[in-house]
Amino acid sequence: MEDYILQMEHITKTFPGVKALDDVNFNVKRGEIHSLVGENGAGKSTLMKVLSGVYPKGSYTGKLLIDGEEQSFSGIKDSEKAGVAIIYQELGLVRSLNVCENVFLGSEKKKGGFIDWDFEYKRTKELMQEVQLDVKADEKVGTLGTGKQQLIEIAKALSKDVKLLILDEPTSSLTEKDTDNLLELLLTLKDRGITCIYISHKLNEVFRISDSITILRDGKTIATKPAANMNVQEIISSMVGRELTNRFPKQEHKAGEVVLEVKNWTVENPENPEKPLLDDVCFQVRKGEILGVAGLMGAGRTELAMSIFGALQQHATGQLFLEGKEIKKMKHPREAIKAGIGYLSEDRKRYGLILDSDVRTNTTLASLDKLLRGGVIDTNLETRKTKEYIEKLGTKTPSMFQLARNLSGGNQQKVVIAKALLAEPKVLILDEPTRGIDVGAKYEIYQLMNELIDQGISIVMISSELPEIIGMSDRIYIMYEGKIRGELNSGVDEITQENILYYAAGGKKEDDK
């Protein structure tokens, strides 16, 4: 009988319309480093939220045992009491407080009702030694780099006598050196008997430290095996493993001359100067092609689109060419729209729509200049144009005076597309164009993309869904840590999910696979 610190049995968690976890079994032995891998949306984060009590007992089915005892967490406080600590991708430290205050935030050591600062500072000093971090207890956290903050998070967990430490994509924004430090620390902690669940896309890291690996796919456990019995290829094909059915109206497009070109595009990272958001990116978009941009979350895809579109706060260095001529870099989306670049955000509710305005207002918002007559909006023309695009895109709405809020996801997306098209772009950048849209509407969006290509518009599609990238793109760039790592051409290269994931997880062209 193995000694398991954590047993999660037959966990099923459903959200409206989606089964996020489907009968998942996940068992972690005491004292091991156990990696959890899977594609975006495979259910890793959901599973960890069940474990940490974010999703309380009752909101899922199945059993959760720690040290062999069944637990019924109703919040994070409960799981912390049981010795579980989770460190998220986005750090949870308060930047304006100092190290000591952060370490004890929420669990202040009290003496006679007041904070025992002497004890806290002394303990913080010890903890900093434990995580091998050379900072003073009274330093402001905001002045420290991401790597150091990560270690403070771990110190915070250690201050609570953690037994099971969970790290969710801890290295996604760390430099190589910081990553090394962190991985070493995890091995040290393991020697001290702390069990660790490690979630990462970066398979080389996974292999460096793991004892066991569990693979999740589409909310199901695919396999749990000792790391020694696995290799990268096997993991990638288990992660992908789903069948591709004909869900994509793929057409062959004939790519023409280069429309948009970016050279040596670099954007600094204000929070971590050693690790730029975009690092010397060069790429071309040709007339009449769908260019796919793949990569994991945080690889810099959205930042690339936003910086070209002039919507990123940090300005880029590098050169921008439109139809062969070098043009000034965009300082505001207005300039990009005027130049013929359109961008659709991945989060249409937050960045795309005025939800409390009607369909017509939303449709024409970016092109009111074209609808003026004597400085005044010609509402007749506005109505005609809106009607034209509702018909063209097949938007289902009772009328153009319906509030955007009341439309379904697919139809909201069509309104945002209509807005971009009305501005007559030459290049249209679509960021996760089918996220949160049902299958039927997805197909319509794909068809629409093909039609736009026929009309001479070039499309850049950023997507985390590999089947979609493969199914629709003529050419694919794969990004990793702010760089373009690989390029795959339809008809020339073999385009498979494995190939893409290889580059997306940091693989290089020269490397042996």
Binding site: R350, I354, L355, T361, L365, V376, K387
Partner: protein, 399 residues
């Protein structure tokens, strides 16, 4: 049986119509409650045409401010300085007139220039430097109060010239029927306004029918048109049968129509609502949030300056306390009139009517000889209630 069914259908339809027009319905209900209550408790003093005409005069100043305060609130900003700006500008104008003997046209031009400068100041800090509007305009409030004391040394300055005070207490003259018991020019304008309204309503009805976006039956449309025409007539006749239209009311009406038009038919108007609804999305649609906010504050300060002219004209002299808490009357009026304190929603007519209701509240309480104590408490509660209603109705919609 069939009768019953159609009855319940009709009831459903009316219910739906009422909930869809919650803003307008609740505004009307509030007005009715407040006016009827005062009518009863003041023994009929409140709704005499003399008092109502007086009320419109009193309310004109704050209603003028409310016209653009609406834009400020819709864009998710605030202006706590409007009242003290009005006091300051009034003091400045009075000083020009009385101490420097500047003529009325030049005084007015100078006042409008000061308005533009104030707008630039606010627009710079709020629009371009992204400072919270609440704090920036609160700071301005203090600065304007200090400025008022600086110019007037705490004394009142006056009286302003006769031509200047016309803006505040002058009325349209009778032109032909000089001995009639009513103001002939005002009556003429009223009739023209009614005709224009009916023509515009019909034309837009025809247009929406053609494009297939018409809603509601023809009977309902006719009823609505008749109702609104009647309201125009009743409101105007209050003045027509007293001294006629005052210049203050005409200024209010012109500004109201102008901004209603700007809101509906210019890119700027659209941008204000887009920014208030979702500033990020507005920016990604190519809208310059900075420039739009700057424009809002320039418009608003110029309109506040116009309000200052009207107010100074009516009172005749500038005092150190002039304008105190006018911004709150205007803000409350906007919210009562359907402007969402969360931004993105609002309309000019509602803002004016809402502010007039607030003035009515003021006026009624004065008729009842309620002291300042109770006036403050009642106004505070009304503001609280209006915002609570607004936020809760928005929450209901979001779910």
């Amino acid at each position: 049986m069939t009768n019953n069914k159609s009855d319940s259908n009709a009831a459903k339809k009316i219910g739906l119509m009422l909930t869809n027009n919650f803003d307008k319905v609740s505004l009307f209900a509030e007005m009715l409650i407040i006016f009827v209550t005062f009518q009863i408790v003041t023994d009929g003093l409140f709704m005499t045409s003399r008092n109502l005409s007086n009320l419109l005069m009193q309310g004109a100043t704050c209603s003028i401010i409310a016209v653009t305060m609406m834009l400020v609130i819709v864009s998710q900003n605030a202006d706590l300085s409007a009242g003290s700006a009005l006091g300051f500008i009034g003091c400045f104008a009075a000083a020009m007139q009385v101490q420097q003997n500047v003529n009325t046209p030049l005084t007015i031009v100078s006042v409008l220039v000061v308005g533009v400068l104030i707008g630039l100041w606010h627009g710079f800090w709020i629009g371009y430097k992204k400072l919270p509007a609440f704090i920036v305009t609160y700071a301005s409030q203090l600065i304007f109060k200090g400025g008022t004391l600086l110019i007037g040394d705490g004394m009142s300055i006056g009286p302003v010239s006769k031509s200047f005070s016309t803006f505040g207490n002058g009325y349209l003259p009778k032109v032909i029927l000089k001995d009639a018991s009513f103001n002939d020019i005002s009556l003429f304008i009223t009739i023209i306004a009614m005709v224009i309204y009916v023509v515009i309503a019909f034309r837009s009805r025809m247009k929406s029918k053609k494009t297939g976006t018409a809603s509601g039956s023809d009977a309902l449309f006719a009823l609505k048109t008749i109702f609104i025409t009647a309201v125009i007539f009743i409101v105007c006749s209050i003045m027509v049968f007293q001294q006629g239209f005052s210049y203050a009311i005409i200024i209010l009406a012109v500004l109201g129509l102008l901004f209603a038009f700007i809101v509906k038919y210019t890119p700027f108007g659209r941008y204000v609502f887009a920014i208030g609804g979702n500033a990020e999305a507005a920016k990604l649609s190519g809208i310059s949030v900075e420039k739009t906010v700057m424009m809002i504050y320039i418009f608003h300060s110029v309109v506040t300056a116009i309000a200052a002219i009207v107010f100074l004209g009516r009172v005749g002299q500038a005092t150190a306390s002039a304008g105190t808490s006018f911004e709150f009357i205007a803000i409350t009026g906007c919210v009562v009139g359907g402007t969402s304190i969360l931004g993105g929603r609002g309309n000019v007519l509602g803002a004016i009517v809402g502010t007039m209701i607030m003035t009515g509240l003021d006026n009624g309480m004065s008729l009842l000889n309620l002291g300042a104590t109770w006036q403050y408490i009642v106004k505070g509660l009304v503001l609280m209630l209006a915002i609570a209603l607004d936020v809760m109705s928005k929450k209901g919609k979001a779910n």
